[in-house]
């Protein structure tokens, strides 16, 4: 039970040590949870405003100043709606499926370092933990599709399962390159290996891996142009066709939290996370010091890319998605891992020191 700050011990001296740790980490997790949910809520607003302006519309601007309170209006509407449970569905699994989708998405944030030493759980195998949780997230979708007992939902679930399993492999392979360069599975160590200004980021040495990772991330979160899981023109709404009210909203929370997570991880693995890009330059202190604001800026850029993709590209056809995942991305990552191996053997690159 290490890692509990001293002020907790002075504040709650009457409790046993392990209860103090549980209380402290519970509060920390709650704060993190609320911030992630708030970010997610404003992301939905940002999405509608950004896509609106890409399409030369205004987007929601009526609720609150500039539409800022729109997410809360949406949540209120969804909470007041009835949750309809289909009579022929498997009720227990039908209700638990949205939770199985959202819990891994939120739990993954435990190991993400938001600022120097700013991870809730600074564990050694952080990257493996993230991979394990993101692969567990597929259960929510599959069970929702199966428990609904509807052909449309089931087809959506089958598509989701095949797509997520396929792109997980490409994602994992892309991260092998990052692990090779960093020599650690700890996210904080991975960031620290990239210190020394914007030219030290892993991105420059593994551009193909970055492209594969980010596109696989888009496919993994079932976002456009890879959103065949909920292809409206084919299977209505896919796995969540029978969900209403908050049960439906929870699936969307999971999707948006996963988007934020993938953006954060892309900036951590390839763009130095909370490191300042101007490290070592003769600039004012706040520009060269590492901090949360750098991670936030990098993460926001990738989130913007998500919205940009959605407004730009038409939906992929299902067999083309599978081809891209298995026959294009996996060979690309394998070739680039061999190239990285050659870099290592001949001591080329920032890791040679």
């Amino acid at each position: 039970m290490n890692g509990v700050p001293e002020f907790v011990n002075t504040l709650l001296p009457f409790l046993p040590e392990w209860i103090r740790a549980v209380v402290f980490y519970g509060v920390v997790a709650l704060v993190l949870f609320i911030s992630v949910i708030l970010t997610m809520a404003f992301l939905t607003l940002a999405e509608r405003r950004v896509i609106g302006s890409i399409q030369a519309r205004i987007g929601p601007n009526r609720v609150g100043p500039g539409g800022l309170l729109q997410p809360f209006a949406d949540v209120l509407k969804l909470m007041l709606k009835e949750i309809v449970i289909p009579s022929s569905s498997n009720k227990f699994l039908f209700i638990i499926a949205p939770l199985l989708a959202v819990i891994p998405a939120l739990a993954a944030w435990a190991v993400v370092p938001l600022w120097p030493d700013g991870a809730v759980a600074d564990i050694n195998a952080g990257l493996l933990y993230l991979l394990a949780l993101s692969s567990a997230g597929v259960y929510g979708v599959i069970l929702a599709g199966w428990a609904t007992n509807s052909k449309y939902a089931f087809l959506g679930a089958m598509r989701a399962a095949a797509q997520m399993v396929a792109y997980e492999i490409a994602m994992g392979f892309a991260l092998v390159g990052v692990v090779m360069a960093a020599g650690s599975l700890n996210l904080g160590d991975i960031i620290e290996r990239q210190s020394g200004g914007y030219f030290s980021y892993f991105f420059w040495w593994m551009i193909p891996l970055f492209v594969v990772y980010f596109i696989s991330g888009v496919a993994e979160t079932n976002r456009a142009p890879f959103d065949v899981v909920e292809g409206e023109s084919e299977i209505v709404a896919g796995f969540h066709v029978e969900y209403s009210g908050m049960a439906f909203a929870v699936f969307f929370v999971a999707e948006y939290v996963n988007m934020i997570l993938i953006s954060a991880l892309t900036s951590i693995f390839f763009f130095g996370g909370w490191l300042s890009p101007f490290e070592g330059y003769p600039l004012p202190g706040f520009l060269t010091a590492p901090g949360f604001h750098w991670l936030f800026l990098k993460l926001s850029f990738f989130l913007f890319c998500y919205l940009w993709f959605r407004a730009t590209f038409p939906r992929y056809r299902y067999d083309q998605i599978m081809r891209l995942g298995w026959k294009v991305f996996i060979p690309v990552t394998l070739v680039w891992l061999a190239v990285l191996g050659a870099f290592f053997a001949y001591d080329i690159g920032p890791w040679s020191k």
Partner: protein
């Protein structure tokens, strides 16, 4: 009782209940979900032993990939439970024998421990500061056990190739896409633009 012991007994209890659920559930999908649940619980038990790499990889490989595909198949098949249980009495003696062997194995480990022998001296190493289970495992795999490890990898690759070859059938008259041909297609291959001189019939007035 320390907090670790309480956690151990809680998770092993849930593990046993879900393991029983795997073989008693009537619905095969429920059985598969019970199996997923027991994988999670055994991962927690490994975590308590500070074998974090094994614990996370168990979730990553079995829960994240194997069981997803398993569920995929179980959901698509309409399994007739009565038909599956047909040979139960015939195979029961063999099953009981295997169960007895497993119980005997567990019993022998407990017996060795009761004699004061250390079966898994893992805690002594794990107590060192800066110990990384993943690093230690990787170092052993790539130095001491390199050849068995590589051999296992090659066998797995062979199994993957074999599985693909077995399921790849070429049917007559099967239409397939040729992506290369599709991408390299030119406008001239698709549309032929012909120029035809206008035919003006006799007696028709040109306007």
């Amino acid at each position: 009782m320390s907090i670790t012991e309480i956690l151990f007994y809680a998770f092993s209890g849930v593990l046993l209940v879900s393991a029983v659920g795997v073989i008693t559930a009537r619905n095969p999908v429920h059985a598969a979900l019970f199996l997923v649940f027991s994988f999670f619980n055994s991962a927690v038990l490994w975590m308590l032993l500070e074998a974090e790499f094994l614990a996370i990889v168990l979730v990553l490989v079995y829960v994240g990939a194997v069981m997803v595909l398993f569920l995929f198949v179980v959901m698509m098949l309409d399994i007739n439970v009565a038909q599956v249980k047909e040979g139960f009495t015939r195979y029961a003696p063999l099953g009981i024998l295997i169960a007895l062997i497993v119980v005997a194995e567990i019993g022998s480990v407990v017996w060795v421990k009761s004699l004061g022998q250390e079966v898994t001296p893992v805690t002594a190493i794990a107590a060192e500061p800066g110990y990384s289970n993943t690093g230690a495992l990787g170092e052993l795999l790539y130095t001491k056990y390199l050849y068995p490890f590589e051999l296992a990898a090659v066998i797995l690759l062979l199994a993957i190739v074999a599985a693909i070859v077995l399921t790849m059938r070429k049917r007559a008259g099967l239409k397939q896409q040729d992506i290369g041909a599709q991408v390299s297609v030119r406008a001239q291959d698709r549309v032929r633009i012909v120029k035809m001189p206008p035919v003006i019939e006799a007696g028709e007035k040109q306007s």
